[in-house]
């Protein structure tokens, strides 16, 4: 009922929790080489977790740790909140960001077993608007290879990835749809959203 790459999306969005290697950012602007090096670091970490064969619970926490370390979780979280981010207090934003991070880890991390025996290879980098897109290909056993892009920016002050795009499907935009729906159902109540997000995924 949904197209095949669509299904791959959620499968692969497991990778969403895996991000850019954090390096102390030099003053100069993000270069292709740096963006690429960062994603290669992430991919290494991902591949290591995939190969580790740990229990699901361990993988999920591994996943959250990598996401927190390499992704700009705060910009991803804030943008999934949409316009509500503007009226949220700083404390709410902090609580939301934290809840979002563990929600993402659970939701995508529990699909990690589907990656067993798979790997990701970085193919190339290009500059797109104000960010860098690092393109890679995911090879999962029994599936045609598919495209995974990491969107990298240093606008937070560090080199971090702020989105992961699988066959054109952006994790950030997709989660924004989901979070938007959750918020609507709670009549825009951010605190209720945060509370429920802690057990969602």
């Amino acid at each position: 009922m949904t197209s095949e790459p669509t299904r791959r999306f959620v499968t692969t969005a497991g990778l969403a929790a895996l991000g850019l290697a954090v390096r102390p950012a030099p003053a100069r602007a993000l270069t292709e080489a740096r963006a690429r090096a960062l994603v290669e670091g992430v991919v290494q970490d991902i591949n290591r977790v995939i190969a580790s064969g740990r229990s699901l619970g361990r993988m999920i926490s591994e996943f959250e740790r990598i996401f927190a370390r390499y992704a700009d979780v705060s910009i991803i979280a804030r943008s999934t909140l949409g316009p509500a981010a503007r009226r949220a207090s700083a404390a709410q934003l902090r609580a939301y960001t934290e809840a979002f991070r563990s929600y993402v880890a659970r939701k995508y991390g529990k699909r990690f077993n589907e990656f067993k025996g798979g790997r990701i290879e970085v193919r190339g980098v290009r500059e797109v608007k104000s960010w860098h897109e690092v393109r890679s290909t995911a090879y999962l056993p029994g599936q045609s290879p598919f495209e995974v892009s990491f969107l990298v920016s240093d606008r937070s002050g560090r080199d971090r990835f702020f989105d992961l795009v699988i066959e054109g499907i952006s994790m950030r935009i997709t989660e924004r749809t989901e979070i938007g729906a959750m918020l609507d159902r709670r009549n825009g109540d951010i605190d209720a959203l945060i509370a429920d997000l802690r057990s969602a995924g």
């Binding site: 009922m1 949904t2 197209s3 095949e4 790459p5 669509t6 299904r7 791959r8 999306f9 959620v10 499968t11 954090v22 927190a68 370390r69 979780v73 705060s74 910009i75 991803i76 804030r78 943008s79 981010a85 503007r86 700083a90 934003l93 902090r94 960001t97 939701k107 699909r111 589907e114 797109v128 608007k129 104000s130 960010w131 897109e133 029994g142 045609s144 892009s149 969107l151 920016s153 606008r155 937070s156 002050g157 560090r158 702020f162 989105d163 795009v165 066959e167 054109g168 499907i169 952006s170 950030r172 935009i173 997709t174 749809t177 989901e178 938007g180 729906a181 959750m182 609507d184 159902r185």
Partner: protein, 249 residues
């Protein structure tokens, strides 16, 4: 056919008031009703039948059926490639069709992929309409088939005619393609079962989620390049609060 297609392109273009916004969904209420129907259809029929089918049928036979369906879809893909003036794609798909039909015994095996031949284009008449300049149109959720757009829906209809096999193959035999197609659909439903279940049954708004995912992926497939229509989140959301302390170790 050419005239009908030209009218169709004009028709699609006329139906779309704005170009490239996020989502154009003027039929949302009807679409949501259809989505509920589709969800029920999946829950009571497609999902359980796909589980039964994949359990009952040995994996090897399942793979043959999927391969067969893929091979039978190639002639229509070749026609669409030609209509799109994508001669390279037409040649690739033709090569694949020849190899898999002969060496792969009617497409039951896939020696083309094993030989490292180019991946199939997997195109359709909806893509042909896109290449011809038709606009996307409105989002539509179709019964059973699920997410679509005005353009894609016209494409699905016209693909009933772009498949040369329907003209060449006699009546009971041409059902083979349909049956293999349905069966391989069941295989896919099961293979991606967790993902589909997550979208349909774990989301708080499975309609909006499947719409978003479908449109993003469809636009990507039709050659939407990264960045087009995508805005930098730092422009809108960066700097509204002070950067938090480092959350890395």
């Amino acid at each position: 056919m050419a005239v009908a297609a030209a009218l169709l392109v004009a028709g699609c273009a006329a139906q779309d008031p704005a170009v490239t916004r996020d989502v154009f969904d003027p039929h949302e209420a009807e679409n949501r009703r259809m989505h509920e129907f589709n969800r029920g259809f999946d829950r009571v029929l497609v999902r359980p039948v796909s589980k039964g089918y994949t359990t009952a049928v040995p994996d090897d036979i399942e793979t043959r059926v999927v391969r067969l369906a893929e091979n039978l879809s190639l002639p229509a893909d070749i026609v669409n490639n030609i209509l799109q003036l994508n001669m390279r794609g037409a040649f690739r798909d033709t090569g694949r069709l020849l190899v898999n039909t002969t060496v792969g015994i009617g497409g039951l095996w896939d020696p083309a992929s094993e030989m490292g031949m180019a991946a199939p284009t997997n195109t359709d008449f909806g893509e042909t309409l896109y290449v011809w300049g038709a606009r996307e149109g409105a989002y539509i959720e179709l019964p059973v088939l699920g997410p679509s757009t005005t353009r894609h829906t016209f494409g699905i209809f016209f693909d009933l005619f772009t498949n040369p096999l329907t003209y060449v193959v006699e009546s009971p035999e041409n059902l083979v393609g349909t049956v293999a197609g349905v069966a391989s659909g069941l295989s896919r439903r099961e293979r991606f079962s967790e993902t589909i279940d997550q979208i349909l049954y774990e989301s708080e708004d499975s309609y909006a989620l499947s719409r978003s995912i479908y449109l993003q992926n469809r636009r990507f497939k039709l050659g939407g390049t990264a960045g087009e229509g995508y805005t930098d989140p730092y422009d809108r959301f960066g700097g509204t609060i002070a950067q938090e302390g480092p959350d890395d170790e």
